[in-house]
């Protein structure tokens, strides 16, 4: 048993435990403790560095280390925020009995972590696919925690659209099997990522291209690329805010990992141009459509969700233009900033009891620190220096310029401008002004409300000013892995 196995067993055990524990306080403690344990294990793995044996089904390469750090690092604050969220809900939802809604919720949360960890660790296309499927299964109960008509609608759309997406990804897997079936020398080849890359020369290129298209559509659905993104705004706005933070900052990245792996294989068979064009198309259309929907948005959680669509588009563009370092750096930066914003949005929602932008004014007066964080978060997500999103977006645009793709660069600037204008018109307005007269009774504020988002934003600021050596190394080796194929 090594640390990779522990990384998987730990959240699985915690999830099952949470499902069966009858005591509320104990269950919440288990949630946070297991999140902490997972993070500690992740740090141990990061310190140890990558070791992936080609024959193994699971293992950590440079890419998985970076994504593992993002997921686990975001899960810890989200789990603490979840405990805070649940303690505010007590009167509404029964939480005491065995198999209560809350025990299923906390259990699903840890199983969700398990599925994401499995997706990141898997070294086999089939295992990766199953893990991504598992994330859908584990996160659907998280979205409809409240069983209101809206949450059910969101969860139904999420399940149906993501299941169809995952079915498309299965077709991608089948296409890869076919690609390996042409050369008799490959008979019985295990479809591990390393194996496939090593034997790329013997694969049938047309079928590798077909598989990439299906991976892009299938995992792209999960990642929220336009036009397969339609589940995303609903799920993100209806889910409890810590869950939205996880969906946006952790889950979308896991799906992106699948597209990265498919793209590496495409490069190995010498078809990178095909992948670049597709990625550029999906990436730019995601950014532009997200920009248009942000401009006319009325709900602030929906607005953040569309911003996630935009940033996933940026990641796809980064992969297309070969700005691997910028892309990996951006994945990290987006998760930090978006995690902070969703957690802040959760506090705003619990104070104002509305998701409508128009009904929220004067956050700076009602909750000064939260209002400040909201404005800082706006600056961070829009890529205003010195926040780190600026640095990574700049690198990606430089990548577009050096590859000579001026049209794409122009469109990306246009989309970034649209998003900035849209968010600038909506977000600061909520912080300034006088609070509405009909403001509901204030629940007691706790420091944990602002400490968590402030920590995440602080890290985004720090990364913008200076990337510490270990993190730089982590991003660099992940980018090198993508570049080398």
């Amino acid at each position: 048993m090594n640390s990779e196995h522990l990384l998987l067993i730990e959240p699985l055990l915690g999830g099952l435990l949470c499902g069966f524990l009858p005591k509320v306080r104990l269950r919440r403690m288990v949630l946070v403790l297991f999140a902490l344990g997972h993070f500690a294990l992740t740090l141990v793995c990061v310190a140890k560095g990558s070791d992936a044996h080609p024959g193994n089904l699971i293992g950590l390469d440079a890419l998985s280390l970076l994504f593992l750090l993002i997921v686990s690092g975001l899960f810890l604050p989200a789990s603490i925020a979840t405990v805070r969220y649940l303690s505010q809900q007590e009167e509404k939802v029964s939480s005491r009995t065995l198999f209560s809604r809350e025990s299923i919720f906390t259990g699903s949360l840890l199983l969700f972590l398990f599925a994401m960890t499995l997706a990141i660790l898997s070294r086999h296309i089939g295992l990766f696919w199953m893990a991504v499927e598992g994330t859908t299964l584990a996160s659907a109960p998280l979205i409809c925690y409240h069983r209101s008509p809206q949450t059910l609608e969101a969860a139904w759309k999420y399940l149906l659209i993501c299941s169809v997406g995952i079915a498309m990804a299965l077709v991608g897997n089948i296409a890869l099997m076919v690609a390996a079936a042409f050369d008799p020398a490959l008979e019985g080849l295990s479809l591990g990522f390393t194996n496939l890359l090593q034997h790329a020369g013997q694969l049938q290129p047309v079928w590798v291209k077909i598989s990439f298209v299906f991976f892009l559509v299938g995992y792209g659905t999960k990642m929220g690329l336009v036009p397969m993104h339609t589940w995303l705004p609903d799920a993100h706005s209806e889910a409890p805010s810590p869950v939205s933070a996880l969906l946006s900052g952790a889950l979308l990245n896991c799906a992106f990992l699948g597209i990265i792996r498919g793209n590496m294989l495409l490069g190995a068979v010498g078809q990178e141009r095909f992948g670049q064009e597709l990625l550029l198309f999906f990436g730019l259309s995601s950014m532009l459509v997200a920009g248009m929907f942000i401009i006319r948005q009325t709900g602030y959680k929906r607005m953040l969700a569309y911003s996630s669509v935009e940033h996933m588009g940026i990641l796809a563009v980064a992969l297309a233009c070969g700005a691997s370092f910028g892309g990996m750096y951006h994945a990290l930066n987006h998760s930090l900033a978006k995690g902070a914003l969703f957690l802040t949005a959760g506090v705003i929602l619990s104070r104002y009891r509305t998701k409508n932008i128009d009904e929220v004014t004067g956050i700076l007066k009602t909750r000064p620190i939260i209002g400040t964080l909201w404005i800082l978060g706006f600056l961070a997500i829009c890529g205003v220096p010195p926040f780190s999103v600026f640095g990574s977006e700049f690198m990606i645009m430089t990548g577009l310029a050096t590859s000579g793709n001026w049209v794409a660069l122009g469109l990306m600037l246009l989309a970034l401008g649209l998003v900035f204008v849209g968010m600038a018109a909506l977000m600061p307005r909520m912080a300034y002004g006088t609070p509405p007269a009909t403001l509901p009774e204030a629940a007691p504020a706790k420091p944990v409300d602002w400490i968590l988002p402030a920590l995440l934003l602080g890290m985004s600021l720090l990364l913008g000013l200076w990337i510490p050596e270990p993190i730089h190394h982590l991003i660099q080796s992940a980018a090198l892995q993508i570049g080398n194929g």
Binding site: P149, W156, S163, I166
Partner: protein, 213 residues
């Protein structure tokens, strides 16, 4: 010979589902089609599956041909008042789309390089048609239960594609299909009941509270 008959049966069931107006008949057809798909897989693999694969195939067959029809019929009894399909895309138009799908499937299948091992292009074409029909049922029908059935049709198509193309590793496809099914039916089934309880209906075209513009 028998594989050709089974393939033809799958195609006919696909077309029947596109034109069918009764929910009960739709459930029967999707279960029958799953049976035909699994038999086709058994007849087209080069050697008889070992006990491990055999067990998985048996479980899949049991789920697809017995458990899911049962669950779907129960959902039908408990939740659906009108047993009509209620199409957004009419039956004739659906059938026409099916024919177009078949035509384009044949065109694609004849142009693709196929791996050695006796795979017929028309099987690939029919698998693609069935997948497409699944999409039509998901997009073009009102009720949540029809969308679930459409998803199962999509699964049948993918299962046939996997058997027809990648006969070498049925185990892995089966695992995938099983897992897919769990989401597809158990979770969707539970949710259908929930939606029904909250809204007093299962018509997804009325699930339109969440949207932009």
């Amino acid at each position: 010979m028998i594989t050709q008959l089974l393939t033809a049966a799958i195609l006919l069931l696909t077309l029947q589902m596109l034109g069918s107006a009764r929910l009960g008949r739709l459930i029967h057809a999707v279960a029958l089609q799953a049976g035909a798909m699994i038999l086709l897989g058994l007849f087209s693999v080069p050697e008889w599956p070992n006990w491990h694969e055999g067990l998985l195939i048996a479980v899949t067959a049991g789920l697809k041909c017995a458990v899911f029809p049962f669950l779907l019929f129960r959902a039908l009894r408990e939740t659906v008042v009108h047993r009509e399909v209620e199409p957004l895309i009419g039956y004739a138009r659906s059938l026409f789309i099916g024919l177009i799908l078949l035509g384009s499937g044949l065109w694609v299948a004849n142009r693709l390089p196929l791996p050695p091992g006796g795979i017929e292009p028309f099987q690939l074409a029919i698998a693609l048609t069935t997948m497409g029909a699944g999409f039509v049922l998901i997009v073009g029908r009102v009720k949540a239960i029809t969308q679930t059935i459409g998803y199962l049709v999509l699964e049948n198509g993918i299962g046939m594609l996997g058997f027809a193309l990648a006969a070498g590793s049925p185990l892995f496809i089966e695992l995938g299909v099983l897992l897919d099914i769990f989401v597809g039916v158990f979770v969707m089934g539970i949710m259908m009941l929930d939606i029904n309880r909250e809204f007093d209906h299962m018509d997804t075209d009325k699930l339109s509270e969440l949207r932009d513009v």
